[in-house]
């Protein structure tokens, strides 16, 4: 197969698509839908992965104290914790302060907590322990758990675990969905190619008499499938990119509102879209080629 033959195949591949516009459009739409879902999942999972790492590296531990710990016990505890390796700051947050903070977060709904002031405050006193490096977190947590005055240790790896679980679930459910949609797209593409094979059966017959090789006859149809798949993936990536850009443009607002949580930072557009483009091109091209091969096997008796 020389370059000229390839030009012939590509030309005829495009011609097949143009001759069969309605079915081609249906094929591109089907593969596009599947790949948009794939793109969305990738965008979410990639962001969650980064978010998870960020949370894990956020080195703050909250130690909740038991009720009835005296002030002197408290200050000696504070000193002890400060002396542990890796701890660089220990801040005491009284139950009163904690309630105020909670009220502040609720904003104008803060009055809901009015009945919990004073003796009715359900929140415990706590220490906010800041740690130099993530590798110290586990030892500090273990040590803190052994101290009788400490009721509970709260550290962000639980949040990280949740995010990890979320990412895993989205990936699993999403990939299942993508597989189903890609299957539907494959059926539609292979049907489109079948129609082109049918409409070109005269030409195929003539090609056989003139002595065209089997592959010479097959290639234009495979390229037709490839083009349909690639067109779908390019459009899908475009749609996902537009949606993500829309979200990014509004993320400054989101950050303003929720930024103190420090985890709602979306990754830059081109970084995420590179993954999405790669994945959807790969899946789109494979689905397109496989679908047309299927059709050729069944309907192109060369």
């Amino acid at each position: 197969m020389n370059l000229r033959s390839w030009r012939f195949f590509v030309y005829h591949g495009f011609q097949n698509i143009l001759r069969n516009r309605v079915m081609s459009l249906a094929s591109v739409t089907a593969i596009m839908v599947a790949l948009i879902v794939l793109g969305l999942i990738l965008v979410i999972v990639v962001n969650l992965d980064v978010m998870m790492k960020e949370v894990e590296s956020k080195m703050e531990i909250t130690l909740f104290l038991k009720d009835g710990v005296t002030d002197s016990e408290r200050s000696s505890l504070e000193k002890e914790i400060s002396s542990w390796q890796g701890v660089y700051d220990v801040e005491f947050i009284s139950r009163h302060q904690a309630l105020e903070e909670w009220k502040r977060q609720l904003g104008d709904k803060g009055s809901l907590l009015d009945g919990y002031t004073g003796e009715n405050n359900p929140l415990p006193d706590s220490f906010l322990v800041k740690i130099e490096k993530p590798e110290y977190v586990n030892t500090i947590v273990e040590k803190a758990k052994e101290i009788p005055a400490i009721e509970e240790v709260n550290y962000s790896s639980k949040v990280a675990e949740f995010i990890e679980w979320l990412a895993r679930t989205i990936r699993l459910v999403g990939m299942g969905l993508v597989a189903v949609l890609a299957g539907v797209a494959a059926i539609i593409i292979s049907n489109t190619v079948r129609l082109t094979v049918y409409s070109r059966r005269r030409e195929i017959g003539i090609m056989k008499y003139i002595g065209a090789t089997d592959w010479f006859i097959r290639w234009p149809f495979i390229i037709e499938g490839l083009i349909l798949g690639v067109m779908g993936s390019v459009i899908a990536t475009g749609v996902v990119a537009l949606g993500y850009k829309f979200l990014l443009d509004r993320s400054s607002y989101i950050n303003m509102r929720w930024g103190y949580l420090g985890i709602f930072r979306l990754l830059p557009l081109n970084e995420v879209m590179l993954y999405v483009l790669e994945a959807s091109l790969l899946v789109g091209a494979c689905v397109g080629v496989l679908a047309s091969c299927l059709s050729i096997r069944k309907h192109l008796r060369v």
Binding site: N2, E203, G205, I206, K208, I210, G211, A212, F216
Partner: protein, 228 residues
């Protein structure tokens, strides 16, 4: 050289289309295959094109037994053959020129070769002036000329014609026969299946006559007459 050795073809439905056929055609010969409908003419041509396989016996073309050809080798074998049919089989969305060029494209000829060779072949069949007409703009005789040009453009050593004049009036048919005869005089072996008695009798070429799958006559400078 083309040899049929004890060739029998029985179709799956039990119809015996050819039974124990033997003949040899030398290079450069002009041979008519004649007989009534159902005599086995079309089966013989399909066997030569290796579209179907004989039930028994062997077909040898230029020292190659067709049954030994692998699937992959069939296209290269067919490039030795030029084929024309009763119904022309041109591509309706291409001009005469493009129909002929198509045959060169699929065997991988260069654009330069195509530009040089296609007009030459078209003028040889007398269609030089109508190169850019579409099949529906051409008469039956002109369409068959395009088909002939397409069959010849890759320089086949054998021209196979299946009822090439079947759809044409007598005058046009004779014009097509002149071209086929010209092609034969240039050295191409011609095998033509037909039931047009007037053409066979006018040409005085070798005649292989079949009846119900049996070769009943093999005659040099023969004729084709009503069977008793």
């Amino acid at each position: 050289m083309i040899q049929f050795r004890n060739v029998t073809k029985v179709y799956p439905n039990g119809l015996c289309a050819l039974s124990n056929v033997n003949f040899t055609i030398a290079n450069g010969e002009f041979v008519f295959i004649v007989g009534a409908s159902g005599a086995g003419k079309t089966t013989l041509i399909k066997l030569l094109l290796k579209e179907i396989e004989p039930t028994s016996g062997s077909i040898i073309v230029d020292d190659v037994d067709l049954s030994s050809l692998k699937r992959k080798e069939i296209p290269y074998y067919r490039r030795k053959l030029g084929v024309v049919f009763q119904d022309f089989r041109l591509l309706p969305d291409r001009t005469a020129y493009e129909n002929v060029a198509f045959a060169m494209e699929i065997v991988g000829a260069s654009p330069k070769e195509i530009r040089r060779r296609v007009p030459a072949v078209l003028s040889m069949v007398g269609l030089g002036s109508k190169a850019h007409a579409y099949p529906h703009q051409l008469s039956g005789g002109e369409q068959q000329r395009v088909a002939l040009a397409r069959a010849l453009v890759n320089n086949p050593s054998i021209l196979i014609a299946d009822e090439p004049t079947g759809n044409l009036d007598p005058v046009t048919a004779m014009e097509i026969m002149k071209i086929i005869n010209l092609i034969n005089r240039r050295g191409t072996t011609v095998i033509m299946a037909t039931h047009a008695k007037s053409i066979v009798n006018a040409m005085r070429k070798r005649v292989l006559q079949f009846r119900k799958g049996v070769l009943i006559k093999d005659e040099q400078e023969g004729g084709y007459f009503d069977e008793p």
